[in-house]
C-alpha cells in the first residue's frame, strides 16, 4: 500500500473511531480523543515556532536595538512557564500583564465605535417618515426592540413604575424569537460539519475517492468488534 493510500485509511479510521462514541464510550473513541489532543497541541507549537523564526529573520534581526528587543521578548515569554511554580508564580504575571494590557487597550478603543456608537447610530438613523409603510413598520419594530432590550438589561433602577412590566415582557418575547434564529443556524452548522465528514467517507471530490473503498470495511470491523464484544460479555453472564 502506498503512503498516500495509508493516509486515507488513517483518515477513515479516525473519522469512524470518533463516531463509535455514539454507540458508547469505547477504546477506539478514547484513542481518537487522546491522539487529537496531542496532535492539536503539537501542531500549535510548530506554527508558533515557525512564526517566531519568520519574525526574527524578516523583522527583528535587522538592527541591534530590534535584536535586543526581540531577545527580551523571548525571555519574557519564557516566564509564562512559571505559572506552575508556587514560589515564582508572580513572574508569570509579567508576560500576562503585557499581553492583556495591549489587547485590552486595542479592544477598548475599537469597542466604543464598532459595538456601541456605530450600533446606536444605526438605530438612531431609522426613519418612519419619508419611507414606505413596510420599511417604516420594520424600522419602528427594530427601534422598539433595541430600546426595550437595552432597558431590560439595566439593573440599578427600582422597577416600580407600571410601564416596566410590559417593557420587560416585550423584551423577553422578542429575545426568544431572536434566539430562535440562533437555534436554527446552529442546527445548520452542526449538520453541515457532519455532512462534510460523510462526503469524505463517500469519497466525493475534492475528497480522495479511495476513501469510499475503505469506509464499509473499517465501519464493519469497528462496529463488529464493539457489538461482538458486548454480545460475548452478555452471553458469558
Amino acid at each position: 500500500m502506498s503512503v498516500a493510500l495509508f493516509g486515507i485509511l488513517l483518515g477513515v479510521f479516525f473519522t469512524l473511531a470518533v463516531y463509535t462514541f455514539l454507540y458508547k464510550e469505547n477504546p477506539y473513541s478514547r484513542f481518537a480523543e487522546y491522539v487529537f489532543i496531542g496532535a492539536a497541541t503539537g501542531y500549535g507549537i510548530a506554527y508558533d515556532l515557525d512564526w517566531l523564526k519568520g519574525q526574527w529573520v524578516g523583522v527583528w534581526s535587522k538592527t541591534i536595538g530590534d535584536s535586543i528587543a526581540f531577545v527580551l521578548a523571548l525571555l519574557l515569554s519564557v516566564l509564562w512557564y512559571f505559572r506552575f511554580s508556587k514560589k515564582y508564580f508572580f513572574l508569570y504575571r509579567i508576560p500576562l500583564a503585557i499581553t492583556v494590557g495591549t489587547s485590552i487597550g486595542l479592544a477598548l478603543r475599537g469597542v466604543v465605535f464598532a459595538q456601541v456608537l456605530e450600533q446606536v447610530r444605526a438605530t438612531a438613523a431609522l426613519k418612519v417618515v419619508g419611507v414606505d409603510a413596510w420599511t417604516a413598520f420594520n424600522n419602528f419594530v427594530t427601534m422598539l426592540i433595541v430600546v426595550c432590550t437595552l432597558a431590560y438589561f439595566t439593573f440599578t433602577l427600582k422597577q416600580e413604575a407600571a410601564f416596566w412590566k410590559p417593557v420587560n415582557k416585550f423584551a423577553r418575547y422578542a429575545m426568544m424569537i431572536g434566539f430562535g434564529a440562533a437555534y436554527g443556524y446552529t442546527v445548520l452548522t452542526r449538520m453541515a460539519v457532519f455532512i462534510g465528514r460523510v462526503q469524505f467517507l463517500l469519497g466525493i471530490p475534492p475528497n480522495p475517492v479511495e476513501a469510499k473503498m475503505f469506509f464499509p470495511w473499517v465501519a464493519l470491523i469497528l462496529l463488529g468488534t464493539l457489538l461482538g464484544y458486548d454480545y460475548y460479555k452478555k452471553t458469558k453472564k
Partner: protein, 280 residues
C-alpha cells in the same frame, strides 16, 4: 393508562435510534440524489456583488479565520470565493489569523490551482499567500498598520515580501479595497470591524458558520459588513450565482433531508410530550 405508557416510551426513545436515522438520511441522498432547486437569497447576492464591483487592480485581503471544525461549511465557501476572485482582474493576498488557517488555505489553493487556466494568475504578482499571524485581535491591529513587518515572509517560499511585486502596493489596511474573512468564532467579525473597519473603513464581506450568523446581523444592518454567506445553505446559493457547482450544491439534498428529519423529531417529541400530559 396503556396509551400513556406508549407516549412515555416514545418520549424516552433510545437516542441511538435517533442517531441511526440521522446516519441513514444523510447517507441516502448521496447515493440517490433528489436534486431539489435552491432559491437564492439577498445575502448571497450582496456578497457576490461586493466582489463583482471591485475595480480592476484593487487589492483584496482574504483571511482564513477558522478551525478544522468549520470545514464542512467554510470549505465550499472558501473555494467558491477564491474562484470568483481569481476570475476577476484583482490582486489577492491570503492570510490567516487562526492557526488552522494556512493548511486549509493550502487545500483550497491546491484544488483551484490559480497558476493554471482558466485563471492564469501569477504568484507574487496577482496573488500571494502570507501564512499565519498569532495574537488574534492584536495581530489584526498590527496588520492594519503595517503588513510588511507583521508578515515579513510568504508561506510557500519563505522569501521576504519586499521581493514580490504584489506587495509593493500593500503596506497597510489603507491600501485594501476589500477584506474577505472566513470565520468560525472569536477572533472574527467583531475584531475585524474594530481594527479594520472603524479606523480605516475597509469594506468587508464574511463567510461564516451558521452559528455565527445571528451575531453578525447588526453589522450587516449597520453597513459595516457588506455581505455575508452564513453557512452551507448560503454556500450553495453562492455557487449557483457564480456558476461553479461544488460541495455546497452537492450538499443541498442532504441539507434538506437532515433538516426536515430534525423538524419531524421536534414535532414527534412535542406530540409525545403533550399526549403524555393529557393522558395523565
Amino acid at each position: 393508562m396503556a396509551t400513556s405508557r406508549v407516549w412515555e416510551k416514545l418520549e424516552a426513545l433510545d437516542a441511538r435510534i435517533i442517531y441511526l436515522i440521522l446516519w441513514i438520511v444523510i447517507l441516502l441522498p448521496f447515493i440517490y440524489p433528489i436534486g431539489l432547486p435552491v432559491s437564492i437569497g439577498p445575502q448571497a447576492l450582496a456578497y457576490a456583488k461586493a466582489i463583482d464591483e471591485l475595480p480592476a487592480g484593487s487589492i483584496v485581503v482574504v483571511s482564513f479565520d477558522f478551525s478544522f471544525g468549520g470545514l464542512g461549511e467554510l470549505y465550499p465557501i472558501a473555494v467558491a470565493t477564491l474562484h470568483h476572485l481569481f476570475t476577476r482582474p484583482v490582486k489577492v493576498v491570503i492570510i490567516a489569523i487562526w492557526v488552522d488557517g494556512p493548511p486549509i488555505a493550502d487545500m483550497v489553493l491546491k484544488e483551484l490551482k490559480p497558476e493554471q487556466p482558466p485563471y492564469n494568475k501569477k504568484y507574487g504578482v496577482d496573488w500571494i499567500f502570507l501564512g499565519y499571524t498569532p495574537g488574534g485581535e492584536t495581530a489584526m491591529a498590527a496588520l492594519g498598520k503595517d503588513f510588511w513587518s507583521t508578515l515579513p515572509t510568504d508561506y510557500y517560499y519563505k522569501k521576504s515580501v519586499s521581493e514580490y511585486p504584489i506587495m509593493q502596493g500593500l503596506r497597510s489596511a489603507k491600501d485594501v479595497a476589500l477584506l474577505v474573512s472566513f470565520e468560525t468564532g472569536t477572533p472574527g467579525a467583531d475584531e475585524w470591524v474594530r481594527q479594520w473597519y472603524v479606523p480605516y473603513k475597509v469594506p468587508m464581506i464574511v463567510g461564516c458558520i451558521g452559528v455565527m450568523a445571528p451575531t453578525i446581523a447588526p453589522y450587516l444592518a449597520g453597513g459595516q459588513i457588506k455581505g455575508a454567506l452564513p453557512g452551507l445553505r448560503a454556500a450553495a446559493e453562492y455557487e449557483l450565482i457564480i456558476g461553479r457547482k461544488g460541495l455546497g450544491v452537492a450538499s443541498a439534498d442532504v441539507l434538506s433531508t437532515s433538516h426536515i428529519v430534525f423538524v419531524l423529531f421536534v414535532i414527534i417529541g412535542n406530540i409525545a410530550y403533550f399526549m403524555r400530559r393529557r393522558s395523565k
